[in-house]
């Protein structure tokens, strides 16, 4: 379990990062906290030619509150966001979900943007970004662009980031009102079997589900009577194309979507 040889560049300037990405594209990988990438390197699942370490770039390590929204730079560790004094006020959903992201040891290394970049279908941060309708800030040597979470995630561990682009930051929109989060995993800190986030909207609830489909999936629900709500959740649960794996069956996942979905909807609408 030793990685194949690679070049390691500890970037001193953002331009250097963008320049290497421009030259090497898909052969280069950004390394931030390394909590997903390092095991993949050690198991030789990934053999990038070059690793670009971005953790020495102070401009990427910022959490900024602007116009009610929050922008989290690519160098911000998960534990730093969790420890941010304004988190509960600015991003109550993230405050609920972050303690479920790995363990304190992995959070103290892993970054917020790293989790977004990895796009694990069970991870909490992509789910929160989708539930809140956040954006991913991408930057290449040529241009900068912002992509909505819904557009960004393309499938299992797949995103619409181009090979020459750096995820510079992610931004979460202003606090949207009542929210709730619940996750079921075999042990605390494991990847979610099902994770659900609910956010109250003008007309009802937006429900986001992780751990079931290839990527976090959101659905808007109007206010509904109990039986109509249960039918709608049942339909949603089946649409997610749940699968069996060693930890859970598709049926169990659908059960959790139906039951936790109803629980969270009650919670944010009460």
């Amino acid at each position: 379990m030793k990685p194949a040889a690679f070049d390691y560049i500890r970037a001193e300037h953002l331009d250097e990062v963008l320049d290497v990405l421009r030259r090497e594209g898909g052969d280069a990988r950004i390394i931030a906290g390394g909590q997903s990438l390092m095991p993949m390197l050690n198991m030789r699942l990934a053999k990038p030619k070059t690793l670009i370490d971005i953790m020495r770039l102070p401009q990427l390590a910022r959490i900024e509150r602007n116009g009610g929204g929050v922008t989290v730079g690519a160098g911000v560790r998960q534990e730093s966001l969790l420890a941010w004094s304004e988190l509960a006020d600015a991003l109550p959903l993230a405050a609920l979900a972050l303690p479920w992201t790995g363990q304190v040891q992995t959070r103290s290394r892993g970054t917020v943007c790293g989790s977004i970049a990895h796009a694990d279908p069970s991870a909490e941060l992509p789910l929160v970004l989708c539930a809140l309708g956040g954006e991913v800030h991408l930057r290449s040597a040529k241009k900068r662009r912002r992509v909505s979470a819904k557009e960004f995630f393309a499938g299992m561990m797949a995103t619409n980031r181009a090979d020459d682009e750096l995820i510079e930051a992610v931004s979460f929109p202003a606090n949207q009102g009542r929210c709730a989060f619940r996750e079921v995993a075999r042990r605390h800190g494991d990847f979610a079997i099902v994770a659900c986030a609910a956010v109250a909207t003008k007309d009802g609830v937006r429900l986001a589900v992780g751990g079931v489909a290839d990527m976090p999936t959101t659905r808007e629900f109007p206010r509904l009577e109990t039986s109509a709500r249960d039918d709608a959740l049942n339909s949603f649960a089946y649409e997610l194309n749940a699968r069996d794996d060693v930890h859970a069956t598709a049926r169990y996942r659908r059960d959790l979507v139906r039951m936790i979905g109803a629980e969270l909807m009650r919670e944010v609408l009460s």
Partner: protein, 998 residues
């Protein structure tokens, strides 16, 4: 030849013995300050090479060819050895039954389990060795695999070894008492079928071996974190083709845990030693976690049908066991020991006089099994104690009543079981009574009733077990027929070894051949020996490393079968007593008194009658060194004494197959309350009470530590852990993200109760206590869960998803338009099935031509580096496939069949590379559209195995779906665009992933 315990009295300074007190562990200060000396901390000789293995991705396949030429040329590589090379350097490992079957530590010609070593690379460092592993080119011809023990019995099952009858390595039947009459006369026959899963106790430290070979003397020198039994030393020297005295096997000072598992390092000792011989340099190998989970050893999984003849009052009159033991792909020594370890104890804690047993041992395409804490106990008690619960339910009796009615009576000890075990001591009824009272069963029942009144799922489970310890080396020969045993010669006993020595300044050292795995042997031995000499434990130095070239040892040496406290510590006491008896004679002579008057107390040896008449221990103890002539005549030296102790009760199996499989039998009675969460279906252990009678307790805190440790591993077995295999033999949990060990957060604190009924058969009265909860707890939790949800059959681990149907019944139906999705899969079936369609602008005839054209295939196969046409319908391609950052290069074969031009074709492909393999088959139909285009419809079935299946199981199905989608989207694009109706965004992703790669 058990010795009479000496008459010499000893007292420590305070007059209280050290044994029985929870003194601080001498091991802890170095372990807690990072000074442990584990195998990877012990330095190696300059020039030592490092090994890495190429392992089989397939559960069952012929090795068609191995090309190591590229690997040999790689930087830093000293040697690449594959099965034929190992075969030339070594002999086959012995197989535990009489059959013309070979057992090589590396695949020779055929692989039989995922992770089986196929080649070893030896290089200047591990990185370079792994680089070269990736360059070995192996071609496999896949065979069908069998992973289920019952399925392995079928005449249609794929056969692993030609030398066994089918897959059955052993089939023995036993009869004790008159079971037929008992069943005929009984009021009820109550039975149960169980499947006990595979799991392992998973030490933190993985295997490690450093081996050297001296060609001048033809001697192997091996350092390994092996734990015993040292009967394996004979297996090793035979495999390495040297006499035992030319295989020096040493162990490092500290071990990062074993629980039996480190016994399984021995095939790797052969391989690393062979590599050292081949390269002429020392070779080191440290197993990594993926290797460990995939291919170290596991406990056996077992299929059991058990029936009881039961009287109206719940009294069990007879048992009928049918056990099918699954030892994996090879029957490696000491297997099938797991099956026979409990042979004398198949009636558990109960007084059952009649028994019928059929024991079959099968091989399957899974990792070979080996020692594991509990060793046969979890399997047996899961069947027996689930059956006892069923008896209670079917006869509508109180659970506790059925248990107590059947327990061996207190006045019956020593009690000979029907199959031959001699239960040494106990008062089971009293233990149950105390547990019920001190563990507050009445209050727990009230909690259950209250919870149930609130609509919650709450249940109580009970278990009574005997915990055997100190294995009889002869029990394994019960697998042979009496005639075969006569031919092989008797095997029996449990030789334990201890050496006590005194240096010129009178300080005391102790050595035992036991190899502790973290239990604290050195602390306990210092207590035991300090008590004999009237010294403090800190005066005694204990060494527990083993060096077979220098130390006293025997085939029974090692740390297994919970033999330390009853056998090894007791033997140390005997060795110290022998020296103490001589010292007493010397002291009596010097102090002008009788030997009976001598007492060892507070570092002095003196007269009981006249406390002022004394001499310091160190002065007297050094006399043998300084002035042997001053010793009284005939006393002999007091410098060093080695005692070998084996209990006379451990005799060989008799002509009727009675076997006293273990010397000691502790008793455990457990009960617990659990609640099942209505939403998540998680099992929460509300209270767990465990009562132990392990004889005399030497160190109370360590005994509780053993109980807690066993309990934690049992919670894992009950609720979390399983070595899972797909139907094709793919191994599905190669990381600790998928093989779930309970952490501190998942393991509640059990309520531990004790009573002490000393064993009459051991020097200290102690019995083993290390494995009991691994035997009692899984079934106790299962009984409680069954009580909570009213389930009849349960299979461990009790993962929440398994309980869904039991608790909730059928799932709500999907809305009508989604009906096809509720298609249930069989367990272990990892085949991915699906369908899709793509519309293209080309005509059906054009699409047809494309499918048969290598250039088009090269363009549409994802990540294809070129297609070679073997025939009109057979193509070979080199492809790079990736999902996100996970990329690997594969060799792919594509075949077209069932051609119906230009309407339909079946396309079958398989790909194989360093990350694993995939295979799939799809039926493609082309339907012309009115606009001149064509709709391509595809229906496929695919599977993925190898490394990527072992570590990415959670993500695999999705990944396979993406790759299959890529192919058809790419085909559609090649055919002139259109879109895949299933996934409109696929083109964008395709360009992103693979653009620029072709």
């Amino acid at each position: 030849m058990a010795e009479a315990t000496g008459s010499v009295t000893a007292q420590s300074g305070s007059g209280l013995p050290w044994v029985g007190r929870s003194i601080a562990r001498v091991e802890d200060s170095s372990l807690l300050t990072g000074r442990g000396r584990f195998i990877d901390d012990v330095g190696v000789h300059p020039g030592t090479l490092h090994a890495a293995f190429l392992r089989s991705p397939h559960a069952h396949a012929d090795i068609v060819s191995i090309d190591v030429s590229q690997a040999m040329k790689a930087r830093g590589v000293a040697a690449v050895l594959h099965g034929e090379d190992i075969k030339a350097l070594t002999s086959s490992l012995v197989v535990g039954v009489k059959a013309p079957v070979e057992c090589w530590p590396m695949a020779v010609g055929r692989v039989r389990y995922v992770g089986e070593p196929v080649a070893i690379v030896v290089a200047t460092d591990r990185y370079l060795a792994e680089d070269a592993v990736d360059l070995i080119d192996v071609r496999y011809q896949v065979r069908p695999a069998v992973v289920d023990p019952r399925a392995a019995l079928s005449p249609e099952a794929p056969v692993l070894h030609d030398g066994f009858g089918g897959n059955v390595a052993s089939d023995r039947s036993f009869r004790y008492g008159d079971p037929e009459s008992a069943f005929a006369a009984a009021a009820h026959r109550i039975s149960i079928d169980i499947s006990y899963p595979r799991n392992s106790c998973t030490p933190i430290e993985t295997y490690g071996v450093v081996a050297g070979y001296d060609p001048g003397e033809d001697v192997y020198d091996v350092l390994a974190n092996f734990q015993g039994p040292f009967s394996i030393h004979a297996v090793l020297s035979r495999a390495l083709k040297v006499p035992g005295n030319r295989l020096r096997l040493r162990t490092p000072p500290d071990s990062g845990g074993s629980f039996g598992v480190k016994q399984g390092v021995f095939p790797y000792i052969v391989l690393i030693a062979a590599a050292a011989r081949a390269t002429g340099r020392p070779v080191k190998w440290t197993e990594d976690r993926l290797e460990h989970l995939t291919a170290s050893v596991s406990a056996t999984n077992r299929a059991i049908s058990l029936a009881a003849a039961v009287a109206e009052d719940g009294r069990i009159l007879a048992l009928d066991w049918d056990q099918v033991e699954d030892c994996g792909a090879h029957l490696r020594a000491p297997e099938p020991a797991t099956l026979y370890r409990m042979h004398g104890n198949l009636s558990g804690a109960y007084d059952i006089r009649h028994m019928k047993i059929r024991n079959r041992v099968v091989v399957t395409n899974k990792t070979p099994t080996g020692l594991n804490r509990g060793f046969g106990g979890p399997q047996v008690y899961f069947a027996l104690e689930r059956l006892v619960q069923r008896i209670e339910l079917e006869l509508n009796l109180d659970p506790l009543e059925v248990i107590t009615r059947n327990l061996v009576p207190a006045d019956a000890f020593p009690y000979r079981t029907a199959s031959g075990a001699l239960l040494d001591s106990g008062d089971y009824q009293e233990a149950v009574r105390r547990a019920v009272q001190e563990g507050q069963l009445a209050e727990l029942k009230a909690r259950r009733d209250e919870a149930r009144a609130q609509g919650r799922l709450y249940g109580i489970g009970y278990t009574a077990v005997v915990e055997p310890s100190v294995s009889n080396m002869g029990y394994i020969t019960t697998v042979l027929t009496p005639a075969e045993r006569r031919k092989a010669g008797p095997k029996n006993g449990a030789q334990a070894t201890a050496t006590v020595s005194i240096d010129p300044v009178g300080s005391v050292s102790v050595h035992v051949a036991s190899v502790p795995q973290g239990q604290g042997h050195r602390t306990v031995l210092s207590q035991v020996v300090a008590d004999v000499f009237g010294l403090k434990p800190s005066d005694i130095r204990v060494n527990t490393e083993i060096d077979t070239a220098k130390d006293a040892w025997s085939i029974a040496s090692g740390n297994y079968a919970s033999r330390f406290a009853p056998a090894v510590a007791g033997t140390a006491k005997l060795a110290a007593q022998r020296i103490a008896e001589r010292l007493a004679r010397i002291a009596a002579s010097q102090l002008n008194t009788d030997v009976d008057d001598i007492v060892f107390v507070g570092g002095q040896i003196g007269s009981k009658r006249n406390p002022d008449n004394k001499v310091s221990f160190s002065r007297l103890a050094g006399l043998s060194h300084w002035s042997p002539a001053a010793l009284p005549d005939g006393v002999g030296q007091t410098i060093r004494e080695t005692v070998f102790w084996t209990p006379p009760e451990l005799t060989a199996p008799d002509e009727d197959d009675h076997i006293n499989s273990s010397l000691c039998h502790g008793f455990i009675f457990d009960f617990c309350g659990v609640e099942i969460d209505r939403t998540t279906l998680e099992t929460r252990i509300d209270r767990y009470v465990t009562m132990h009678d392990c004889g005399t307790i030497l160190h109370p805190a360590m005994v509780d530590g053993q109980v807690r440790g066993g309990f934690a591993q049992a919670v894992g077995a009950a609720l979390y852990e399983e070595y899972a295999y797909a139907e094709d033999g793919s191994f599905l949990n190669g990381t600790l993200a998928d093989y779930l060990l309970p952490t501190a957060a998942e393991v509640p604190d059990p309520i531990i109760l004790h009573m002490e009924t000393p064993s009459p058969f051991t020097p200290l009265g102690a019995k083993g206590v290390g494995e009991g909860n691994c035997m009692s707890t899984p079934v106790c939790i299962a009984n409680a869960v069954a009580d909570a949800i009213g389930a009849r059959d349960l299979v461990l681990p009790l993962v929440p998803a398994k309980l869904a149907a039991l608790v909730r019944g059928d799932e709500p139906a999907p809305p009508v338009h989604q009906a096809s999705q509720a298609d249930p899969k069989r367990r272990g079936d990892r085949k991915l099935r699906g369908e899709g369609r793509a519309s293209v602008k080309a005509s059906a005839q054009q699409v047809w031509a494309m499918l048969l054209d290598p250039d088009t295939l090269a363009a549409v196969i994802p990540g294809c580096h070129g297609v070679e046409k073997i025939s009109d319908t057979h193509f070979r391609a080199d492809v790079t496939i990736g999902i996100g950052p996970v990329k690997g290069r594969y060799r792919a074969e594509v075949k077209l069949s069932d051609l119906d031009p230009p309407h339909a074709v079946t396309l079958a492909g398989n790909a194989e590379g360093a990350l694993g393999f995939g295979h799939g088959e799809g039926r493609i139909t082309l339907r012309p559209e009115p606009n001149g285009g064509t709709t391509i419809h595809y229906l496929y079935e695919a599977g993925i195995g190898g490394k990527v299946a072992s570590i990415g199981g959670r993500l695999l199905d999705g990944a396979a779906k993406v790759i299959i989608g890529q192919f058809f989207a790419s085909l559609a694009r090649q055919a002139g665009g259109g879109s895949s109706s299933a996934r409109p965004s696929l083109f964008a992703r395709l360009r992103q992933w693979f653009g620029g790669q072709r």
